[in-house]
């Protein structure tokens, strides 16, 4: 139990020493760290860890080698990662079948296994240290503090890495001073809105009530975004500490995490971290010997995107349909169970311990004039280095996509980067040198959003992308406001008409009008921003809409009604593979002679193209 500040000092000191010894080898053991984020787990990290533990046991190496989990390294497309300390060698793309060789050659011996090293795509050099990879060079970890370093299931490692030093300092200040510190830091809501966190806290602080609540919004429903998942999996205690500090600042005794049920690993680690924090006395009564008491519960989502909207989230916790409430009253006045509440995003709360531990000036030294600190992005789509990256605000999109992301795969041409998910928009080539911050992205017709950043290349059809988001929103609209419920459906129908090749120019005007109506007349952010992907793509890619409507062509060859597969006679060797595999027998031809696709039978499944060994089948 850690009952007083003195206890924390002693515990932190011994934990820090243990962690240091683990990494420096002073513990007498070699530490094998296995990335256990969702991406690596899906590609075999669980088996790798189990195999290491089994081999260590079988070879009786317990006194020499220790294998443990760590949170997400971030460089997900290269996973699973294994890091060996103190040798500081990192292997990527590891399989369970490599474990025995790694143990023998690198852990026990001093040999580096070349084939498991990361190869820099530009210099073609093999790289054995994370810090030497271009992917990491521009990154700074504030919200992702400790991710990829500590074992997220062991509170002692977190304590050895600065956990609860922020709370300790906060408890020496009065709540108003804590709020001032967060205001000075310039922290803005990381869920997308960008509202100053300190001001939100101030509103709730100023309410007089015997009951107040802190709610953490972990309902990260934006498709293509996994920042909060990475944080909760990599250092759950950091978010718990942030929530505890928030509770102290506004005068709440109870906090709730609302996490989507789609994240089982994050939920399990969060549960475990709460339990350990309770056992050690960091949650409960008289925390660190102060008068402050705080407890935390978890609530799970049940697959409704709209619950990411803060008032819908509150309704969901209250056991109701997740429909938004009209504001005012704002949650800071009447929130959970009608009591003053603040709702902060996972990443926002993850920044709070840093601000209190290191001081507001350390945080606001990073970033731009109006957007301070860092932002975590889930970089995905058509980019070489897919993963979680944390960069200082103000970095340009070009740096994000090319320096960190490693550019576009297969020599394809960059077309757009989508930020802000279903509420956001697309940014193009001409925006690449824009420094990323809340205000710049809005000025450019998109928004920061929660951090999803999906890169699209020349093979993506922007009308199809707009349709994808509209289909999503249409499905997720809660149905409360008719402009959103009906308007999104009508917009989706028009987009379907256009991608089916039946669109007219009048449809574009109608889309614009509907977009205005839905924006102006919906109660919550979901409806108000639902047309953004359409408005943004219509503005940036008008030519693609025109091609679909006027020329009846999909320039990217995505929309099935507007494209066809054809066999290039010069390239076809007549191997018959396509004809044999065609599910509708649409391909005919004689052996060793060029084949032909009967367009009236073809269902455009693309199987022939993916099977062809001579690249003889193209879309046009």
């Amino acid at each position: 139990m850690v009952k007083t500040e003195k206890d924390l000092e002693l515990t932190a000191k011994s934990c820090a020493k243990n962690l240091e010894d683990k990494f420096s080898g002073a513990s007498g053991k070699i530490a094998v760290l296995i990335c256990s984020g969702t991406g690596c787990l899906a590609t075999g990290a669980k088996d790798i860890l189990a195999t290491f533990q089994e081999e260590i046991k079988n070879r009786k190496l317990e006194a020499k080698v220790e294998a443990s989990k760590v949170g997400c390294f971030g460089f997900c497309s290269q996973g699973p990662f294994v890091k060996i300390m103190p040798k500081n060698i990192v292997y990527r793309g590891v399989k369970a079948s490599d474990v025995s060789e790694i143990l023998e050659k690198t852990v026990l011996g001093d040999e580096i296994i070349e084939r498991l090293l990361y190869v820099d795509p530009v210099t073609k050099e093999k790289v054995s240290k994370l810090e030497d990879m271009a992917f990491y060079k521009k990154q700074i970890k504030v919200a992702l503090y400790g991710c990829g370093i500590i074992n997220p299931e062991d509170i002692n490692e977190a304590l050895g890495y600065g956990a609860y030093q922020g709370l300790k300092r906060a408890l020496h200040m009065d709540p108003q001073e804590v709020i001032n510190e967060v205001l000075t830091a310039g922290l803005r809501g990381r869920g997308g809105g960008g509202f100053p966190t300190g001001r939100k806290w101030q509103f709730a602080h100023d309410q007089v009530s015997d009951e107040k609540y802190v709610v953490c919004n972990g309902d990260e429903g934006d498709p293509g975004a996994f920042m909060d998942e990475g944080i909760l999996e990599g250092n759950p205690l950091g978010v718990i500490e942030g929530m505890t500090i928030a509770g102290y600042a506004i005068g709440a005794k109870q906090g709730y995490f609302y996490v989507r049920a789609e994240y089982p690993t994050a939920v399990a680690r969060l549960r475990n971290a709460i339990k350990q924090a309770e056992e050690m006395g960091f949650l409960g009564n008289n925390i660190l010997g102060s008068n402050f008491s705080f407890n935390i519960g978890i609530r799970l989502g049940a697959g409704a995107f709209v619950c990411g909207e803060e008032t819908a989230l509150l309704n969901s916790i209250e056991g109701k349909r997740g429909m938004p409430r009209p504001r005012p009253p704002f949650p800071a006045v009447k929130g959970l169970w009608q009591k003053p509440s603040i709702i902060n995003n996972v990443e926002t709360l993850a920044c709070v311990p840093f601000i209190l531990r290191e001081g507001a000036s350390k945080f606001n030294a990073l970033g731009t004039e109006k957007s301070k600190g860092t932002k975590v992005f889930a970089l995905g789509g058509k980019v070489n280095n897919v993963g979680l990256v944390e960069v200082p605000m103000g970095i340009t999109l070009r740096e994000l996509i090319y320096d960190i992301g490693g550019g576009i795969p297969n020599g394809k041409k960059f077309k757009a980067i989508q930020t802000g998910g279903p509420s956001g928009g697309c940014l193009t080539e001409k925006d690449l040198d824009t420094p990323i911050d809340y205000d710049n992205l809005i000025a450019k017709g998109s928004m920061m959003g929660s951090g999803g950043a999906i890169v699209m290349d020349e093979d993506n059809c922007m009308v199809d992308v707009a349709k994808f988001y509209m289909d999503f929103i249409c499905d997720e609209s809660c149905g409360k406001c008719s402009p959103c419920r009906i308007g999104t459906k009508r917009m989706l129908e028009i987009l379907n008409k256009i991608t089916d090749g039946k669109g007219t120019l009048a449809d574009l005007d109608e889309l614009e009008e509907l977009a205005q109506v839905v924006k102006a007349n919906s109660v919550c952010g979901l409806g108000q921003t639902s047309a953004n992907p359409i408005v943004s793509t219509m503005k940036q890619f008008k030519d693609e809409y025109m091609a679909h409507i006027v020329d009846k062509k999909c320039p990217a060859h995505v929309c099935k009604s507007l494209m066809k597969y054809v066999i290039v006679a010069d390239k076809c060797k007549g191997c018959t593979l396509c004809a044999r595999n065609c599910p509708v027998n649409a391909i005919s031809g004689t052996v060793k002679q060029p084949h032909v696709i009967d367009q009236s039978k073809c269902i455009k499944c693309g199987l022939c193209q993916s099977n062809c060994r001579f690249d003889a089948i193209i879309k046009e």
Binding site: C76, E220, P223, A261, E262, A302, G319, G381, C478
Partner: protein, 162 residues
């Protein structure tokens, strides 16, 4: 409530009791029942209503609002094809189309033999290995149209056996 067995009644009563100290436990109760039984039919909702005093209309409203709750039993294997943005731009739609074609059911439906339910997922946070498919929690990374049959066969072989 004639359809519920005595053991089911007992188990649901226990689940409701588990959350009796919570202020608004409905979501927690329904999540527990969903994960225990795989669906929440009307007679179970009536029982929850009797036990909690929450009107059954309200419970039905909540059950039908959230996509995780189901009124009908799901297949033994729930094939979730991720259609989050990262998976979508990398061809997730063609993967779900292929599953739909080979299983003969549309997304949201269950095969007549009760073996498979096909569902479209909204981002499972596995964007680095897009397009991803998750079957009863096991994630298949970087799926291709060509691999779909193989994956279905893998589960057909396991069949209905537990």
């Amino acid at each position: 409530m004639a359809h519920l067995s005595a053991s089911a009644v007992k188990q649901i009563t226990e689940i409701v009791k588990r959350y009796e100290n919570e202020r608004t436990p409905l979501m927690m109760i329904l999540s527990a029942i969903q994960s225990e039984y795989g669906y929440i039919p009307l007679d179970v909702q009536e029982l929850v209503s009797d036990l909690t005093g929450i009107p059954v209309a309200e419970i039905y409203g909540v059950v039908t609002f959230y996509s995780f709750f189901s009124l009908n039993p799901k297949g033994k294997y729930v094939v979730g094809v991720c259609l989050g943005t990262a998976c979508y731009v990398k061809g997730g739609q063609s993967i779900i189309d292929k599953f739909s074609e080979l299983l003969g059911v549309k997304p949201g439906e269950t095969t007549p033999d009760g073996l498979f339910t096909l569902s479209a997922l909204r981002c499972i946070g596995a964007c680095s290995i897009a397009p991803a498919v998750s079957i009863n929690g096991k994630v298949y990374p970087k799926m291709t149209v060509g691999k779909v049959q193989e994956v279905i066969d893998e589960y057909r072989k396991l069949g209905g056996a537990n």
